[in-house]
Symmetry: C2
């Protein structure tokens, strides 16, 4: 087990109707909030009105910032932080999934910063303060509701970059599984792929031994694998959504990487994919992770055999770890396909024509390697994209 | 899944030599600390000197309060809180295991309170503030290093009572598995029983469905079951101690009871046992839990069969859940015995003579029931004590 420091301060309020508590939670931080949301589904479902009523009854006023898109854009972040400064807003409240939350986090650290907020994502500066962030989660997927991460796309060059900082833990996150009932099936499946990818990124490590966190990750994987088909069959299955929603948070709240270094190369590979094609992050991960696994398994077949055995029930290949490893990858593909996910780029309508460009950007023109379990430079990135075709 | 609120703010600093960071962590809270410890082993091992050096180099001065005993006493808490007031100490730092930490927590909430600190344990008052608490953990067992609990024994009537409050989360806890190397084997085994009991108390619930937390609890149980024999064989096995130490924290930091109500009746039964006989808490739990299980399993044989299957590998009794349940209890007893633990009161030299007295005190003279999975009053308590003989 590697040495580590762990502290996650986010307060989780979980349960039916929990969004009615948002005003009470928010007023501990400010009387004026920026409310960040996406394309308007929060208005159609009535969530926005319920949140607005709760804020008002707690004495808060707020300014709206709608229009967050998947692969959220820097320009909207800039708009939001300007609003915070002009209107002297003291809290950024996200309603939605990872895109709304990541936008809120970027606004929160950009508002008090004198320079350009992209400096943080470009690795040129570290934030010293941030406005408090609260969230009302509607899409179990990104785990941003209790993470230190924000991922933003800079339209100038279509650069999609992530940034991590302890200041970005939301102060509170409200998780009501009922809010996921209205998710389109494809979005629900993408969310499941995103959650499972966060677990796989942590699982594939060179740190050892890491027994407790291995088993905790496997526990979350098995829970999601059990619950996901149930929500695909019945979109208002509260119990199954509750397991998925809490799993999505636990998958990404940093507990499961205590004492180990995860890989994260597939996330970098996928970021170029969704920057190039503007596809959903979860959809891109479903196509890229099996390819990465097929490329990476020889580095440590025993680790792949372990997950095949403990998570997928592959118990016939202890004498042939590589066979077990491949059987586990096959089970993963079959499972994701059963949810309607494409596990190949061709299924997303993507061919080989931009592989060289994506490999170039992912490796910063061949100057950096991504990933930790295995190191992926320009050449390796191109090979993995090709495996995903 | 039940609705819940979860927020655990304790900062964990984990790894070899981590106690050298105590001064840096402590100085964020105060320049004057009370250092609470037990019978002197922290001085023999050199831990006290290393901590003192770290505090001094960070500019802190401190006052010592040694002499914490197992089943820590109220009188020492009173002594400590008087010291905090007199010396204007702003931080309570525990070096040791659950007894030292629970004492530190009680001092921390007692010092700023005008009334008697026992009011909190007697259910007569709620704390509004508490001094910050830091810990350097030497015994993986109680989980107090990241919990809301403090358990103190009032010598007046030998009443052992627990109290829970969010103010009691330590601000920081330093976990260095090397500090467990010097633990006597019996104490190590008691600690394992304590950790596993915290997991069982959470596992046996009437809340449902609770798939994620079931699986997380099972993951921690399996990790401890794998690692415990290794530290019994080789007391300086860092890797195995690291798994046990982090498992002990995760077992009790409240994540594993999100969305579910645990039982905790066995803890109440054991508190009377260790108050009456002054035995170690873990030793008492090892004798009481199998008895409680034999009494309780018929309430929900499927739940007992599930843990028997998933944790103990009992896979031959799906057609007979009660048989599977009993097989799981047998495996637990055999495992604890393999660590040198007594799983019967007779093995602790305890007979039936004080059963009526303990059942009476546990049930507050027959006026209360303990436990949630099953309700245990005076009569049931006496039956469970008898089953443990």
């Amino acid at each position: 087990m590697d040495d580590f420091v762990f502290q996650n301060t986010t307060k989780i309020i979980f349960g039916r109707g929990a969004e009615s508590k948002v005003g009470l939670e928010a007023k501990a931080y400010s009387s004026r909030a920026l409310v960040v949301y996406g394309g308007g589904s929060v208005k159609r479902t009535g969530l926005f009105d319920r949140v607005a009523a709760s804020l008002k009854s707690a004495g808060l006023s707020f300014v709206e910032l709608g229009g967050v898109a998947p692969n959220p854009r820097l320009s909207l972040v800039r708009e939001g932080l300007a609003l915070c400064r002009k209107e002297k807003l003291g809290l950024v409240l996200a309603l939605g999934g990872g895109s709304a939350i990541d936008t809120a986090k970027a606004i929160a650290m950009g508002a008090p910063y004198a320079g350009d907020v992209w400096d943080f994502f470009a690795g040129k500066a570290e934030p010293r303060e941030a406005l408090p962030v609260g969230t009302v989660l509607t899409i179990p997927a990104a785990g941003s509701e209790a993470s230190t991460a924000s991922v933003i796309t800079n339209e100038d060059g279509m650069l999609k970059r992530g940034f991590n900082h302890e200041l970005l833990y939301p102060k509170f996150s409200i998780l009501n599984p009922e809010l996921a009932f209205s998710l389109p099936r494809a979005q629900a499946a993408n969310g499941v792929a995103d959650i499972m990818s966060h677990l796989f990124e942590r699982y594939f490590t060179n740190s050892r031994p890491v027994e407790l966190t291995d088993r905790l990750i496997e526990a979350v994987l098995r829970t999601v694998i059990s619950a996901a088909p149930r929500v695909m069959r019945k979109n208002d299955d509260y119990d199954a959504w509750a397991e998925i929603m809490w799993s999505g948070t636990v998958a990404h709240n940093n507990l499961l990487n205590t004492g180990r270094v995860g890989d994260w190369g597939t996330h970098d590979l996928e970021h170029e994919l969704s920057a190039a094609y503007d596809i959903a992050h979860g959809a891109g991960l479903a196509a890229m992770f099996p390819a990465w696994m097929k490329y990476a398994y020889r580095h440590d077949p025993a680790r792949f055999a372990q997950v095949a055995n403990r998570v997928w029930g592959v118990d016939d290949a202890f004498m042939d770890l590589e066979r077990a490893a491949l059987a586990g990858i096959e089970r993963l593909e079959a499972f994701w396909q059963s949810l309607g996910l494409a596990t190949r780029l061709s299924g997303l309508g993507i061919g080989s024509d931009r592989i060289a460009e994506m490999a170039d950007k992912c490796s910063s023109n061949g100057t950096r390697q991504v990933g930790n379990f295995i190191k992926v430079g320009k050449r390796e990135a191109a090979e993995i994209y090709a495996l995903a075709l």
